[in-house]
């Protein structure tokens, strides 16, 4: 569905941002209110509910045992899927994932995988035959901008919250001890910061009305030590090198703030 923004809205948002102000009273480097809860779904081995402003995602983690990919026989699998539920926005429609959904899942997946959030070798049970496959499902319930930061923050919290059965090998068979579940082998906790470019300003954590008028978007995924593990540019217009550098520097500071929300 095409989203038509009235010219007057576009103008008022742009004028505000030129003066380093925003419609909801934030400064260009302020996040909206963030809330994060873990363990919200009992049937899921790990879960989290994250809200950034009115944007809301539930993330569930389910493990299963499967075959490793043939080129990496001794490592487990981490997969991220997303569903932009039609209840989350009048612009989301039922059906197979569209490009927005695929982009969200893949950027989140990259940020987690490249960090890497998990020591996947420890998820190998029998080399070449049985490994843990960890599914992260993003269930977007309300869309009010900046899905990516919420998705990564919530996924990290959900994976930290995850307990899987202890798997041991006896006589070439996998024995699962569901009574004594173990935490996932966490290695790194990446987080993501997203900026929107409106006029010639970069603002952090764009709301939906800001996303609707933005020229470009840039998301930076960061490790705990401030190194970069993922990046994605979006939007129709280019950004300058200076803007990219500014985004990276600001993200270094901002991910430290975001990190305080993790349990």
């Amino acid at each position: 569905m095409v989203n038509i923004v009235p010219e007057i809205t576009r103008k008022s948002i742009t004028e505000l941002i030129k003066n380093k102000e925003r419609a909801d009273g934030r400064s260009p480097t302020d996040y909206r209110d963030i809330s994060l809860e873990v363990g919200v779904i009992e049937k899921a081995e790990g879960s989290a509910r994250v809200k950034i402003g009115n944007t809301q995602i539930i993330i569930g983690v389910k493990p299963s045992i499967g075959e490793p990919f043939s080129d990496t026989p001794n490592v487990g699998v981490l997969m991220t899927n997303s569903e932009l539920l039609p209840m989350a926005s009048p612009t989301f429609e039922p059906g197979p994932p569209d490009e927005r959904s695929v982009e969200l899942a893949r950027v989140t997946d990259r940020c987690l995988r490249e960090a890497p959030i998990l020591d996947l070798e420890k998820l190998c049970i029998i080399e070449g035959e049985k490994v843990w496959m960890i599914f992260v499902d993003l269930h977007v319930l309300n869309y009010d901008g900046n899905l990516m930061d919420a998705a990564v923050l919530g996924s990290v919290a959900a994976l930290m919250n995850t307990k899987i059965p202890n798997a041991t090998v006896e006589d070439d068979k996998v024995v699962l001890d569901k009574e004594n579940p173990v935490a996932l082998p966490l290695k790194e906790k990446p987080l993501m910061c997203t900026f929107a470019k409106i006029d010639d300003e970069l603002i952090i954590d764009p709301s939906l009305e800001e996303e609707n008028v933005m020229n470009a978007r840039i998301s930076i995924g960061m490790r705990e030590d401030g190194s970069i593990c993922a990046m994605q540019k979006g939007g129709e217009m280019p950004i300058t090198k200076e803007e990219a550098v500014y985004a990276v520097n600001t993200a270094t500071e901002k991910t430290k703030e975001l990190r305080e929300h993790l349990p």
Partner: protein, 239 residues
Amino acid sequence: MVIIITNNSNSLRADGRKFDELRPLKIEAGVLEKADGSAYLEIGGNKILAAVYGPRELHVRRIMRPDMSVIRCRYNMAPFSVGERKRPGPDRRSIEISKITADALRPAIFLEKFPRSTIDVFIEILEAEGGTRCAGITAASVALADAGIPMKDLVVSCAAGKADGNVILDLSEEEDKNGEADVPVAIMPRSGGITLLQTDGHLTPDEFDKALDLAIEGCKKISEEQKKAIINRYGEENG
């Protein structure tokens, strides 16, 4: 003479309930910001979100009605809502439930007030523990009311069934899996009209009769909670 008491409501079920007792229930109206109407419902271990958009423009011309609105439902289970991860997307079961949900809700809505439009109802099962279709319908009614859609009644749904030889109300996941029969029912409580009735499993006509009565009683109890949820959100009538 030996009198066998088959429905001794003092004896308890696996989760300690009486035969005619509902699981703990919570309904909240208006929980999402973007949707025109929404509701969150928990019953036992079920966690269910319903959202309504509309009446809004219908782009699919072939299902458009020139004299009334159409209602479309989408029942969807989160991949993490069940023990074994569910593959995302519709399967045969969720397509059927989507259809019977629309059928259950349709009679209550004044569709003729909104020709050529659609009312879209989305039901998300965040966590499932038996009886999700009924819980979904109950939540969807509250979401429709929250969206301000004119209705004759608040449709409410509840299942009864048979497990361990007893006719029981509101089957849990265990009772549904190991039980003999499941009878989901939806009613319009003001008129008593039944808008959903399914049965699967094995029941004698007498047992069916009993199960249906029990389910209707359950619906009436849940109906009170629906009303409370709306009053909590909007205040008392004339208030």
